[in-house]
């Protein structure tokens, strides 16, 4: 399989990441709308609830836990969107034939930090769910942490690779 160009793994990955990015954007926009609508909806339901004659289902009453779940998914989708965008940028440099640049090392590093923030947010929201009545669970898998470490290792490899490439370019 070719490294770059049509039918290469990089181009297949790029297509996959583009589709993922579109889905994430839709989810992100949906959540943004939900953040605006949910409080309004809550007020409306509250107002209707004021009339004793109307029977309001408990599921329609929006609590602190629901807000927290939205915020949790907002952070989650945000991190995923950030990671996918950086990966696409890295793939673009590969398409131009110069992946070993300092910018890519920096991109991998920021991906690592974003994943760390994502995992940290998981814990934070998990602990907060103990206070509220949301369904966010405190769970973290070893493989996720290994993946984060792998990204940081890649960042260092790219940093050294970029330095070596620069040295090679400046060798007469």
């Amino acid at each position: 399989m070719r490294a770059i160009g049509k039918g290469s793994l990089a181009s297949i990955l790029a297509v996959g990441l583009h589709i993922t990015r579109i889905i994430l954007w839709i989810a992100f926009i949906g959540l943004s709308i939900a953040i605006v609508i949910v409080p309004v909806f809550s007020i409306v339901v509250g107002m209707i609830g004021g009339f004793d004659s109307l029977d309001i289902d408990d599921d329609l009453i929006v609590g602190a836990g629901d807000y927290m779940e939205i915020a949790y998914h907002f952070v989650g989708f945000g991190v995923m969107l950030f990671v996918v965008t950086r990966l696409l940028e890295i793939l673009q440099t590969l398409r131009f034939g110069s992946p070993f640049v300092k910018e890519n090392a920096e991109r991998f590093r920021t991906v690592g930090y974003a994943l760390l923030i994502g995992e940290g947010a998981k814990f934070a929201f998990g602990f907060m769910s103990l206070i509220t009545d949301s369904d966010v669970e405190i769970d973290s898998e070893m493989i996720t942490w290994l993946a984060i470490i792998a990204v940081f290792v890649l960042a260092e490899v790219f940093h050294e690779g970029a330095r070596m490439k620069e040295e090679q370019d400046l060798t007469v």
Binding site: E166, E167, L170, T171, V172
Partner: protein
């Protein structure tokens, strides 16, 4: 402390342009320019050999070990 390149001076002494040297040595003008302006990080023995052969000089005529400007000034 740096290695400084005095290629421009040797070229001036020989009355040779960078383009001419580039054609004779077979190294691109861009690369010779990198060398001349001191931006080069390394120089291949083969390049140095070709330059010395064409300019009829020693590697020491082109490269100087510059201890805060002392050696280079002494060489002048």
């Amino acid at each position: 402390m740096t290695i400084s390149v005095k290629l421009d001076r040797v070229l001036l002494d020989r009355g040779m342009s960078l383009t001419e040297l580039s054609e004779r040595v077979g190294v691109t003008i861009a690369n010779l320019s990198i060398l001349k302006t001191g931006k080069a990080k390394a120089i291949r023995f083969s390049t140095l050999e070709a330059i010395c052969q064409e300019l009829k000089c020693q590697p020491g005529d082109i490269l100087f070990f510059d201890t805060d400007g002392e050696v280079a000034d002494a060489a002048e």
